[in-house]
Amino acid sequence: MSAVGQRFTALQRLLHWLMAVCILAMLFIGVGMVSTVMPKYLTLVSIHKPLGIAILVLALIRLVVRLIYGAPSLPADLPEPMKLAAYLSHYAFYALMIGLPLIGWAMLSAAAYPVVLFGGVRLPPILPQSDGLHTLLWNAHFYLAFAFFALILLHVAAALFHAFVRRDGVFEAMAPLSTHGRVVLTDPQSDRVA
């Protein structure tokens, strides 16, 4: 798991970029739909629910894949605070990818709204109707969604920092296309052995 230039597996990279598109779409749809009363409100809501469930399913698959295949180790010369931030951010991502859809589903359940996916498929309620739970979950869904977007911005900034400034192979480990593995191997700062 610590070989120089090791990348995430192709399956992990596929899941990462597929989910990146889904999650960004989800967050934009979310803030867009709650700020309009136009007919697109219904369209956006009708995408938001099934897309959220799709993200939940993908996140669970991804968690299993991650537990099986692990992740490339971080560069040895990465400062400890950045390593810690990287580890914590990964936990936060998994918590949000799995937690936000569940909170949304539970929130709708607590309000006795039917949860309708594409094709008229309905999900069962996962909580009884409750004023208090609805309010708690609504707040959690709302604020955690903004936290998620903030985390994504940090993640993008960090990824680009690795790619443009440190050039240490971390970005390439998750890049969608192969960069022939040369980026890491030619890194003059690297003190790792192949």
């Binding site: 967050l27 934009f28 803030v31 867009g32 739909m33 709650v34 700020s35 309009t36 009363v37 136009m38 007919p39 697109k40 409100y41 219904l42 809501v45 309000a111 006795a112 709204y113 039917p114 008229g120 309905r122 109707q129 409750s130 004023d131 208090g132 609805h134 309010t135 609504w138 977007f149 911005l153 993008v156 900034a157 680009l160 920092f161 443009f164 400034v165």
Partner: protein, 349 residues
């Protein structure tokens, strides 16, 4: 070569900041933070509450109401128009709420011109049909934006505000004429309730039919003058319906009106001609009345876009706007439940 490296690092950092900043800006735009004129659910719901009214814990419109339970008895005729199970011959549990179109939960019954009925019918296939109807024969305005402007004009201190509004939205004149001349009744049981909004029924063959629906009372409407109503007390409608239902179930025939090609479906302020085909699809039977405070309708959002497969929204812009605003109203009032406490005996665990 530390110099070029430092310069390229600074350029890279600027580029990264630009990318992240642009993403944040697009997000802010999508959220409406850069568009103060966008009509948001928050603005719509804010505008519903006039100064001096405290709606905490209550619906932001149609704030005063009373719950009922009963059955919807489908006669099977609706299956020709929609594949929804609710039209298959049979009995389905119904839950609803008689209400007054006022933002004031403590309004006096004789003072409120428009009366409404919220309804939820559940079918064995797990689907639901929610609808919220009112008793005028057409809506006051053509668009949700016009409704928002009507709320602002009504609350405005400018004596010309309503005149200016009526100039921009002449459809309000017909509604004002209805409000002035239509007879009042002394009972929810004598009211005809109308969807006003248009929806699409999809039948078993996939054919689509633009429709509106109404509940026609079995009880014969008896006109009562507003002066006589005023003598009946602040809650006479709730007392009347409670007594009537205690004496026996109250019924309404559900009638679906089918549009002719070219009939206005996008504008609920325009009634369709009287000669349009109607189909009686069943009967709403109201069997029990319960006070709202501990009643089963209290925490139901009668969102008119909660529809079974076989009923869809049309090009009418109101159901979407109502769905967005009702959800906001629901979020607020459920967060304020402590301001409208359940009684100890009816408290949920």
């Amino acid at each position: 070569m530390p110099q070029p490296v430092a310069r390229s690092a600074i350029l890279s950092l600027i580029l990264i900041a630009g990318i992240v900043g642009a993403a944040a800006a697009i997000f802010a735009y999508t959220a409406g933070w850069l568009s103060p004129r966008r009509l948001t659910p928050d603005k719509m719901v804010d505008a519903l509450t006039p100064p001096g009214v405290d709606p905490a814990g209550h619906r932001r419109n149609h704030a005063k109401g009373i719950c009922f339970t009963g059955m919807f008895e489908a006669n099977g005729a609706g299956s020709a128009l929609s594949q929804a199970e609710v039209f298959t011959r049979g009995q389905y549990p119904a839950l609803g709420r008689f209400n007054l179109a006022t933002p004031d939960p403590n309004a006096q019954d004789p003072t409120v011109r428009v009366r409404g009925l919220g309804l939820r019918i559940a079918t064995p296939d797990g689907q639901e049909w929610r609808t919220a109807m009112i008793d005028p024969p057409f809506f006051a305005v053509s668009t949700p934006q016009a409704f928002y402007e009507l709320l602002l004009a009504t609350a405005s201190k400018d004596p010309d505000a309503m005149k200016i509004f009526a100039g921009a939205h002449p459809e309000i004149a017909a509604f004002a004429a209805w409000a002035k001349s239509a007879p009042w009744t002394g009972s929810y049981a004598e009211e005809r309730f109308n969807s006003l909004d248009s929806f699409i029924f999809v039948d078993g063959s996939g054919a689509r039919h633009a429709v509106r629906w109404s509940l026609l009372p079995d009880a014969r409407p008896v006109p009562v003058s507003p002066d006589d109503l005023a003598k009946r007390g602040p809650d006479f409608l709730e007392q009347d319906i409670t007594e009537r239902v205690r004496g026996g179930p109250q019924r309404w025939a559900m009638v679906v009106t089918v549009a002719n090609p070219g009939d206005p479906t996008a504008d609920p302020s325009k009634a369709w001609p009287e000669d349009r085909r109607t189909v009686a699809v069943g009967t709403l039977v109201v069997q029990q009345i319960e006070a709202e405070r501990d009643g089963p309708c209290r925490d139901i959002n009668f969102d008119p876009t909660v529809l079974p497969a076989g009923i869809e929204t049309s090009d009418d812009p109101f159901p979407a706007a109502r769905s967005a605003a009702y959800a906001k109203s629901y979020d607020r009032r459920t967060a304020e439940a402590q301001d409208y406490p359940r009684t100890a005996s009816g408290a949920k665990p």
